[in-house]
Symmetry: C2
């Protein structure tokens, strides 16, 4: 195994172990102080090793987005939530074939999703929890009104085979660095959520679980009355987006893509061996989009990856007097770390330039369809 | 193994086997007619199975972008080109540890890249070919002038340890559906290339190999005098970009992402389980960007994937009277198929709705740093 960064073949995904530990501690402490159940989203790291550390630090369970994540994370947590509608018999069967010791729950927004799930759960005589997903401004999935939430909660309760646990929302539309506007959006969210909770309570369907929260507004989610549980993901590593939104400092970005300068032929730029297949073509959100690019150098944030081919990244040198040489290694803070992790199979844990450890990104990919012998 | 599309867990990458076969044949025939050596770029499929078929149909060798691709493709071809600067000792060692029966060559644009490569090649007493990469308008990598090409070709010839074979360029900047403008760009390219070839010939460094070409202008590259070899990749599968550029018909798109409708809660849209981690956030290039989105339904190209989360894709229904139900399967033609393939581990080969076969995307990922026992 490589012992130093210079021995790593690039591009490689590397993690500053001290920053990772600090990020894990900070979120655990925040949730403890505010008495919020922490159910971290594993999509960011897809690694049992980090999930196990999250559980050790007090997480009540884990949030998953795919059946691959469910399957892998069942080895480190006995309480898993799929925060994605479980549609399609192959998906339902795969999820419900997970070890029976593991408590499973699912978020969904339509009884048509619940019916086949209830049928399989009933046949398997397996308890399955359901959270009604409500749309509080993201406009992606989720029932649209308090009345619809009540109707779906009742339908689920009446189906037999499923246990109605409460509600879930994803406030991914609140990505706002400006405090006053963040205040306004949070206030609106709290109002809308209050109406849903009140309507459910009035129908004798008061939610035991009210699950929300994301990294960008993670640190203020306790201001929203009624929330019982949060599901942040990105906080373990953070990224250029989280920093641009003011939800972390630049020094909290724990994962970078180690890359090598491979060409300086075209004036005004340098080319690294990390392209879109290593960095992803993920833009910065909202107002921060004007910063441009797909990542920035950790030690020179003014140097931005402005163009990508699949295996080439173009560093714009116009804002810097740094003139790299061929063979120089750089560390790129990516725009969206959850995306980058999914492009790699192995993560290297570093202290400074020393490779201390490595771990597999076990839950990347989707081998639900692969023959069992090849997994 | 699943036998029908409905048994596949989605998202899944599926290939129409008849279209794939036709695409392979068409390019092989084009190159045969115009007496161009075909060295397909494997980045699109990353699969030995398809590479072997390309070789059977007359390819002279294969083009790779990563050492992972080199290593994997050494099992099906004895003539491999790395069309990416080989920088960094781990990368050079990995490449040159490939079976000695395999002829290796590399594209590069600076003697600083050539020196360590020559040292390792000399130590290993292994013949290694080099192509001087020239920039003919892409402005990514490549020497900038005919004089620079001559200088680098001479430096390589004088180094010892490397064999100067000729020149390489990538005309990726010519992505132009409009014929008159394509004419102009091709004409400019031919002029520039002519000057490079002439300068080299005048210095007694006339190139044996002149390697260029890509899928978008693949069908016209024979119009450029002096070209001996082409390196198209995307043509095996094609995609929404290739179709938008007029370089293939919609019915030539062989790979689609099979997805399931999981939510219809938000008016005017449907949500599928293929998000950015299945489709990539790849825009259409140039003028075709105005078409928008990240993919379109194969049988309803007016229905576009307009928004992506990691595991959610939003279908805009405003241009269609189609109203899907939860559980409906759809086939999405992605904007950029090379990117999509790299997100999956397995490809399923279909005829209509029958799953006839499947193959692994063996050359995805970068396990050069992984411990040997875990590969």
């Amino acid at each position: 195994m490589p012992q130093y960064a210079t021995e790593l073949e690039t591009p490689a995904a590397i993690v500053d172990l001290d920053r990772l530990a600090r990020n894990l501690d900070t979120m655990a402490a925040y949730c403890a102080v505010h008495e919020l159940a922490l159910r971290p989203h594993v999509k960011t790291h897809k690694a049992p090793r980090i999930a196990a550390e999250q559980m050790r630090l007090g997480a009540v369970g884990l949030t998953c987005a795919t059946t691959q994540e469910l399957e892998v994370m069942s080895t480190v947590s006995a309480d898993l939530l799929l925060a994605h509608p479980p549609v399609g018999i192959p998906k339902i069967h795969r999820a419900l074939s997970i070890d029976r010791e593991v408590a499973l729950s699912f978020a969904l927004d339509n009884v048509e999703v619940a019916i086949p799930l209830a049928n399989v759960a009933r046949d398997a005589a397996r308890p399955v929890g359901v959270l009604v997903e409500v749309d509080l401004g993201m406009h992606r999935v989720g029932v649209q009104t308090p009345a619809d939430a009540v109707r779906l909660a009742r339908e689920i309760s009446d189906l037999g085979g499923l246990r109605y646990d409460g509600i879930l929302f994803y406030p991914g539309h609140i990505r706002e660095p400006q405090e006053q506007r963040q205040d306004a959006l949070l206030h609106e969210l709290a109002e809308d959520l209050g109406q849903v909770i009140q309507a459910l309570a009035g129908a004798d369907l008061g939610p035991r679980v009210v699950s929300g929260g994301s990294t960008p507004i993670g640190w203020r989610i306790h201001e929203v009355p009624g929330i019982t549980e949060v599901r942040p993901g990105t906080y373990v590593y953070n990224d250029r987006t989280t920093a641009a939104l003011g939800a972390c400092d630049w020094e909290d970005c724990a994962l970078t893509v180690l890359a090598t300068v491979v060409s300086v032929a075209v004036p005004g730029q340098a080319v690294i061996d990390a392209g879109s297949k290593a960095l992803g073509r993920e833009p910065l959100p909202g107002e921060s989009a004007s910063l441009g690019g797909y990542g920035a150098l950790e030690d020179r944030p003014e140097v931005i990856v402005t163009r990508l081919s699949e295996e080439h990244g173009i560093l714009d040198l116009s804002a810097s007097d740094w003139r790299p040489s061929i063979g120089d290694q750089v560390r790129v803070v990516p725009n969206h770390v959850c995306y980058v992790v999914n492009l790699f199979d192995t993560i290297f844990g570093m202290r400074d330039t020393v490779v201390e450890t490595h771990w597999p990104v076990t839950a990347r990919g989707r081998d639900g369809n692969r023959p069992v012998w090849s997994r």
